[in-house]
């Protein structure tokens, strides 16, 4: 019986000119967006890969150099773009892409593309994620809103129920029919994405990309089930088609356009972030005056000097067999790292709290769960951004420590600032090789959203089993 | 007052109305009988200017409806099968609104008069129409028609769905209007009601007026027999 209902719904939808045209337009847009998204991904990927390569070349060709000069010269690292950027670019254009790494000081990720765009960019970009998140649900609403009205006004519903069709079967049939229309579009994207990803085997190797693609497909399929179940049940409950459409459209606008902004705005108000000047000022101050405010840099240096002199049993740094400057700089690095850990820890805590705030709203608005999970599965969310930032900082620490230790123990003496190390030594230092987190890690950060979307699915299924779905309610 | 000259309406090959000739004088009630799709509503729509005739002419008080639709509307009133009004306005407000649109401005008392005369209970005059029954809405519709002081009145299945008492009240009201000189064209399925109120009865079939009789010529049963033989 279900199969017949689904077939019939497909036939009707296909014969309704507006719906079939809309379906074809959205399908076309999906193909176009996926393909152009792929081109865009390739452009950005190459841009960043080339930039990273250029910086590495410069690092390797810096000539014979004093390690400390090299630490000041520093290098830049680039946030690699995830291959699934072509499906959901997420925060990429709003987040910095390059990070300057040098001694003494930590920088923030810089040069977000959106900062060079006008407010036109805030209207949104045409990408597959936008169509899948915003337009496909709308198509489902248009298909579903009068799915009972047609049969009600023509009297076919009365006939169908008289033929012995159970009201719940009718609901399920219509839900599955609407859902299958979305799944067809999703399949289109999945196949094209798979082909595109396979065309770049070096980027899609490993199971993680494929797991993420599968995860994204499952996520969207689940969300479309929510929309289908909600739309069909509302269409069954509301008799006037215009009212049912208006209700569904209101829910769509509220969940897709209004609530995400309201929640983001409230999250920002709950945990306002410091301005970069204040933030740097605080770090600078603690580095100078000490983490507790009573341990100035001079005192720390003197203490450290005494400790080293005692260790080597000499009374002056110039008598040390090693280069004291290297040790002192590294000691200062350690202190700077502790300051960074404290302040970035606080900042990350605030950012995570903002993210948690929006995550909780998924229980009210399943669209939020979809958006956050989509960002997460595409490896283009805040957590991945912070993951990269941390990885880059860890690399910086290792690099600067290596340079400082070379300065200290490489054969130079205290005050020997002109001492140089051959270029080959620098090129032997390991390059930054960022390993993006695996899908399990990404999903772990989004447990709330996962629970919320599952709860929504359960709720809508539960509503279908409610005793109120009787023949008289549908008629 | 209500005149049709060779009035025709075609939808492609289908003749919804075929060469209709009709002349309804002031004070006359002309009832159109016929099966569904016989052309009764199309006839009324041509007089109301809702449908442009394919050939022929529909005139109200000597005004050609097709060439002066707005002018002709000044002289006619209409009561559809189901009178739908604004649910968030009271019966009185609906009457005031529709009358003012037609260019008549009445005092509150006059409006109440019209509604009471149409048979609307006094206590419901100021209630929202959304709470009215079909019969009550029909009465407001009659009040709207009478308040327009039209010389021609068109009624499309006006008693359908009304209870016998309401139908009877309605018949009395129609006769009163006719006595006041209004020409009335009523499309109906109700042979007995037609016999009761009509001056003349016309029977339509496939867009043609196939028979016209004075209502006094037959009893209701005879009329029914003629109707069944004709359609």
């Amino acid at each position: 019986m279900l199969v017949q209902i689904i077939q019939n719904e497909w036939r009707i939808a296909w014969r309704e000119r507006q719906l079939s045209v809309l379906w074809i337009i959205i399908g076309g847009l999906l193909l176009f967006a996926t393909f152009s998204g792929w081109q865009n991904f390739q452009r950005i990927h190459h841009e960043r890969a080339e930039a990273a390569q250029l910086m590495r070349q410069k690092w390797e060709n810096q000539g014979d150099q004093n390690p400390h000069s090299s630490a000041h010269y520093g290098t830049y690292v680039y946030k690699p773009v995830s291959i699934l950027h072509f499906l959901d670019p997420g925060i990429d254009k709003f987040a910095g892409v390059s990070l300057r790494l040098e001694g003494h000081v930590q920088h923030g990720l810089a040069f977000a593309a959106a900062s060079e765009q006008s407010s036109l960019s805030r209207f949104g970009d045409l990408h597959t994620g936008l169509i899948l998140q915003v337009l496909v649900p709308l198509l489902l609403i248009f298909v579903a809103f009068n799915s009972f009205q047609r049969e009600r006004s023509s009297g076919a519903l009365r006939l169908m129920l008289a033929q012995g069709t159970a009201p719940r079967s009718l609901l399920w049939g219509k839900i599955l029919a609407v859902w299958s229309m979305a799944l067809a579009l999703l399949l289109l994207v999945l196949v094209l994405s798979g082909v595109l990803a396979l065309s770049q085997p070096q980027l899609s190797q490993g199971t993680d990309v494929w797991l993420r693609l599968l995860g994204l497909t499952t996520l969207y399929a689940l969300y479309y089930f929510l929309i289908s179940a909600m739309a069909v049940q509302l269409a069954a409950a509301i008799r006037q088609p215009a009212l049912s459409l208006l209700s569904l459209l209101s829910i769509w606008v509220l969940s897709t356009v209004i609530l995400p902004k309201v929640v983001a705005a409230s999250a920002e108000q709950q945990k306002p972030l410091l301005g970069v000047m204040q933030f740097n000022e605080q770090m600078h101050e603690e580095r100078e005056k000490g983490l507790n405010g009573h341990d100035p840099e001079d005192a720390r240096s003197k203490r450290f000097e005494r400790k080293i002199l005692a260790k080597y049993g000499v009374d002056d740094p110039s008598k040390l067999p090693i280069n004291y400057d290297g040790l002192l700089m590294q000691e200062d690095e350690y202190y700077g790292n502790a300051v960074w850990d404290k302040h970035f820890g606080l900042l990350n805590r605030d950012l995570r709290q903002q993210a948690q705030y929006t995550a909780w709203s998924s229980f009210v608005n399943p669209f939020q769960a979809l958006r956050n999970l989509s960002l997460s599965l595409a490896n283009a969310d805040l957590y991945q951004h912070l993951h990269f930032q941390k990885a880059a900082e860890m690399y910086r620490r290792t690099l600067i420590r290596t340079l400082n230790e070379k300065m200290a123990y490489g054969g130079s003496k205290t005050g020997d600032w002109d001492w140089t190390v051959p270029e080959a030594w620098f090129s032997e230092l390991e390059d930054f090789n960022y390993q993006a987190p695996a899908m399990a890690w990404s999903l772990q950060q989004r447990t709330l959203e996962l629970v919320a979307i599952a709860a929504w699915a359960l709720l809508l299924i539960l509503l279908l089993w409610m005793p109120w779905w009787k023949a008289e309610r549908l008629l | 007052m209500i005149v049709a000259h060779n009035l025709s309406k075609n939808y492609g090959e289908h003749h919804a109305l075929n060469n209709l000739n009709l002349n309804i004088a002031p004070g006359e009630i002309f009832c159109l009988l016929g099966q569904n799709g016989a052309g009764k509503t199309t006839t009324i729509n041509c007089f109301l200017g809702f449908t442009a005739p394919s050939a022929g002419k529909a005139e109200i008080n000597g005004i050609d409806v097709a060439s002066d639709p707005q002018g002709s509307k000044r002289h006619l009133a209409y009561l559809p099968e189901v009178v739908m009004l604004y649910p968030k306005l009271s019966g009185l407000e609906n009457l005031d609104y529709f009358s003012r649109l037609a260019g008549f401005r009445y005092s509150k008392n006059q409006l109440q008069e019209f509604l009471l005369k149409a048979g609307l209970p006094g206590d419901s005059i100021n209630r929202y129409v959304g709470t009215y029954s079909k019969g009550m809405r029909q009465k407001v519709g009659i009040a709207i028609a009478t308040a327009k002081q039209a010389k021609a009145l068109f009624l499309d299945e006006p008693t359908s769905g009304l209870d016998p008492k309401a139908s009877n009240d309605f018949s009395i009201l129609l006769k009163t209007l006719a006595q006041e000189g209004v020409a009335i064209l009523m499309a109906t399925h109700d042979i007995f009601r037609a016999k009761d109120v009509a001056t003349r009865v016309g029977i339509m079939r496939e867009g043609q007026l196939v028979a016209t009789h004075a209502a006094t010529e037959f009893s209701a049963t005879e009329l029914e027999k003629i109707y069944l033989e004709t359609v």
């Binding site: 925060i91 765009q117 407010s119 459409l245 208006l246 | 509307k73 009178v83 260019g103």
Partner: protein, 469 residues
Amino acid sequence: MITTILQYELKQLLRKRVGWALFLFILLGGGYAIAYGWLNYQHYRTQIDEVQQKQAETYAELAPKYDTLTQLGDQAPERLNSFGDPIMADWWYRRYSTWLPGSLSALAVGQRDQQTPYHRIQLYRNVNLPELEEINNPEQLLAGNFDLSFVLVYLLPLLVIVLGFNALSQDREEGILSLLKVQGLTPKQLLFTRVGLQFGLLWGLSILICSIGFGVVAADWAHWPAWVLGCGAWLILWAGLVAWVNTWGRSSAFNATVLAGFWIVLLILLPALTNFWVDRTYPVLPRSEFMATARDISSQEWDRPVAAILADFQKTRPDLYAKLPQPLRDTQAIKVFMYNENSMAKVEQLGAPLMRTGSQRLGLENRLKYLNPAYAFNAILTTSAGTELSNFIDWQNATKETLKQNRELVTQIGLAGKTFKKAEFERLPTFKAPPLKAQVGGNLLCLGVLAGLLWLLVWWSAQRNAAEV
């Protein structure tokens, strides 16, 4: 007749719960947006104020030192020597150019939240290479701001749709239209009066909300007419769409579907497509090559022999070269200034395309606005609030100008071998904000032309479907 329709339409609207719900929705939405914008602006303002306060404190701290240097001359204590050095004086006096759009930016955040609103004014600084990058939550940026401009651009059209999608169809579906027609009312009169009334109410409502917003944030009322006219033009456009769809004579559900489609097209698809077009035509240039090359230019220039730097300096800045005290005695002492001028000239040349891209993008967006009226309306709000990219570019250019003035002063004093005293210290330039350039006329014209064309279409469609309308 029109007065009667207006009177009764208004009466019915006031009696409908949905009307009040919508009114409350927009009022609450607007209120929340204003409150959010105001808090957001306060937070932003506090940060800028702190920067400006720090600059004032630095000035207050340094001024007495320069008084002493001026009064005592060579007798000044040795610890003040570094303050006399031009490069050090420039370094000690930490000045910033700050991007501070007015309080109206609370109502139209625009691109303000994406920019770093301060830039250090110092000899070596380049506007293309900001020292600081503002801290943001990129997911919040992606979600966007719930400010008043969002309410006006996105939500106002929804109200027009909800109120007007069945402006004619409902009467037809409910069977009232035939009765109305018999009374001598034409559907065209009913439709236009009804849409006109809804437009009037919504425009009144938007004027009210804008006025509350302007009052609450104490904005410059000179921009109020632009906002009010912008809302009017935007609403006329949407009222036109609503009227047009109603002239087709289709069902209310069909009208609602089509109008929802228009909303998607005008507020999501067209902006996304124009964005796509702009991005492909003028992609945001990657800065990596610029950064790397700028750094190399700088270090290579520094490593060159002084004579070579001097020779280049003669070509780069013949005006300054001519003023050099002859014969040149200590070229090493002035090397830093010459090196800086040479490398700055090269870096600026290198950075020119970066500066140009923003303007090119804006130019194209401006040309495409006739395809994208939502952008035109948004631009009225953001440019008058001073939060559009164009305003930011104006600020960048003004910053660049201040940087140039600063460099000229420090370099001239340095090349002349002079030291900084109070007079020189006072001459160190501080940033002056550029005048606000609101782009109202062109965008209003765009909305007006589009609305005019649309209403012609409405008139034509109403004539064509006269039987239905």
